[in-house]
């Protein structure tokens, strides 16, 4: 029987998110089995380009190793690409779900959540194994493998918070994508992906902490590339900042939820 009067609100939410996530993945990959590994192709190509251009200048900051520089770039790109793709696709999700929201009683949160969930699946199935292999080969410490999921969780939580925020703004302001493009570019540039932190002037470096992606990427690099024990405080900051962003994003979303219906 369609209709689920016995089901709780929680299982209904889960069913909806699961089916929409699955739909998002299906539509993206159109049945290609290798689909999720395409998500590795972009950071690999970018890493190759950055290495070709900057390696000669920057390798000395990475113990003179071209490989370490390339891996640091790759790790940074994995996290930042996930963040920008997940949030950029979640941005129009409430509006595109508007027709459904107007016909069936649905919690609007399922749209941004299922978009971030689809990207999370791709991150965990496609990119996390690569990061794990790097950790085993470079950091050579199995204990680091246990820490690896923590900054990954932080970037997922962070993206979810931003997704709630931008998807609710887009309901009211359709010119947000132009603005958001600028914001993601700034976030991308102010987190040391292809340049070493050491080249950033001392006075400016403190501002890097304003970027919530900064602790995520730095701790990912420590976990995957350093033999020394990673800075647990850094992981803690990454998680804390992510949770704060999630709380704020959800507050904005929840406060406007009912108003969505008049504007989508």
């Amino acid at each position: 029987m369609v209709g689920n009067p016995s089901g709780t609100v929680g299982t209904r939410f889960y069913e909806l998110v699961a089916i929409l996530t699955w739909r998002n993945l299906k539509v993206r990959y159109r049945g290609s089995v290798l689909g999720i590994y395409w998500s590795l192709l972009n950071p690999i190509i970018m890493t190759a380009v950055y290495s070709a251009i900057f390696n000669a200048t920057f390798a000395r900051y990475y113990q003179g190793s071209a490989l370490r520089y390339a891996l640091a770039v790759f790790i940074g790109l994995v996290a930042v690409n996930f963040f920008s793709a997940a949030t950029a696709q979640a941005l129009p999700s409430v509006v595109s779900g508007g027709m459904l929201l107007n016909k069936i009683k649905l919690p609007p949160a399922i749209f941004p959540v299922s978009m971030v969930a689809a990207h999370t699946f791709q991150l965990v199935a496609g990119n996390l194994p690569a990061l794990a292999v790097i950790t085993i080969l470079i950091a050579r410490n199995p204990y680091h493998l246990l820490l690896l999921p923590l900054p990954i969780a932080a970037v997922i939580i962070l993206s979810m918070g931003v997704a709630f925020f931008v998807s609710s703004l887009y309901v009211f302001f359709r010119d947000i994508p132009y603005l958001y493009e600028l914001v993601t570019f700034l976030l991308w540039l102010t987190v040391p992906i292809f340049y070493p932190v050491a080249i950033v002037p001392e006075q400016i470096r403190a501002f890097l902490w304003l970027n919530p992606l900064y602790p995520v990427i730095q701790s990912l690099r420590q976990i995957a590339l350093d033999r020394a024990t990673p800075d647990l405080r850094l992981i803690g900051i990454a998680l804390l900042e992510a949770l704060i962003v999630l709380a704020l994003g959800w507050l904005v979303f929840a406060a406007n939820r009912r108003k969505f219906m008049d504007f989508v």
Binding site: M1, V2, R23, K26, L101, N102, K103, F173, D175, D262
Partner: protein, 257 residues
């Protein structure tokens, strides 16, 4: 009150008017800076609605375009929340509003059956068991793995109807009487709807076909400008509605003279 499956108490609904809205952050920021910002207004679309619907009742909603019929349906479904007042609806509400809105054109028919079914309130597992019967009813057995975009609009309509009605709703919501597909399929739809009609399903239907309302509903609610103008036996409601239209027409003619 025992037996009431739908109850609206002093329900009023204000809605933001989106046709007056600019949807543009840049313009809004500039208009505030230049002091020419106009405050958004809200319009009263439902006012002081008090309605109780008993289990098994067949209720028609009538009234002019923009009188608030669809809005009232959406409020009963829980899609819109009243600005003031209380709405309670018990049981499984199935809306049959413009079928096929939940389809993803790129996905195959079978996957759309799962998707649409879950959106309408089922679980994926329950829908998996229903795929065959839905395909059969929609007469699309040979199209299971074809993307929905390939189907004709008639076929997609059939599919939507088959999914939405492969259910035992407690409350069925119909926005306009359905006319899908060819004569043969229309008959089939009619039979299935008639079945709901005979069972103890509560049906709420919006229609401009007054003859249909008179024949099929026990009761009709006439909405005028977001208010209940009359609530009672379908025959009386429709005739009052018709005579008010005639009166208005006569007044218009009189003014023109």
């Amino acid at each position: 009150m025992p037996g009431a499956v739908v109850a609206l108490q002093d329900v009023s609904l204000l809605r933001w008017m989106k046709d007056e809205y600019a949807y543009d952050l840049k313009n809004q920021v500039f208009s505030i800076l230049e002091g020419r910002h106009q405050k958004q207004t809200r319009k009263l679309v439902l006012a002081d609605i008090n309605v109780e619907i008993q289990r098994g009742e067949k209720v028609g909603l009538i009234g002019a375009n923009g009188a608030g019929k669809s809005t009232l349906l959406k409020t009963i479904c829980g899609i819109l929340h009243p600005t003031s007042g209380q709405v309670t609806a018990t049981g499984n509400i199935v809306p049959l509003l413009e079928l096929g809105a939940g389809f993803d054109p790129e996905l195959p028919v079978i996957e759309n059956i799962l998707l649409y079914g879950v959106l309408l309130g089922s679980s994926r597992k329950a829908m998996l068991e229903k795929v065959t019967s839905v395909l059969q009813f929609a007469e699309l057995q040979d199209y299971g793995s074809v993307p929905v975009k390939v189907l004709s609009s008639g076929m997609a309509g059939r599919l939507g109807f088959a999914i939405a009605t492969d259910v035992e709703p407690d409350i069925l919501i119909l926005d306009e009487v359905l006319s899908i597909g060819d004569e043969h399929f229309k008959q089939k739809c009619r039979r299935r709807i008639d079945q709901f009609w005979q069972d103890h399903v509560t049906v709420i239907v919006v229609s401009h076909e007054l003859e249909f309302i008179r024949q099929s509903c026990d009761r009709a609610i006439w909405l005028d400008g977001g208010r209940v103008a009359f609530d009672g036996p379908a025959r009386e409601a429709t005739s009052r509605y018709v005579s008010s239209i005639e009166r208005e027409a006569l007044e218009t003619i009189a003014r023109l003279r």
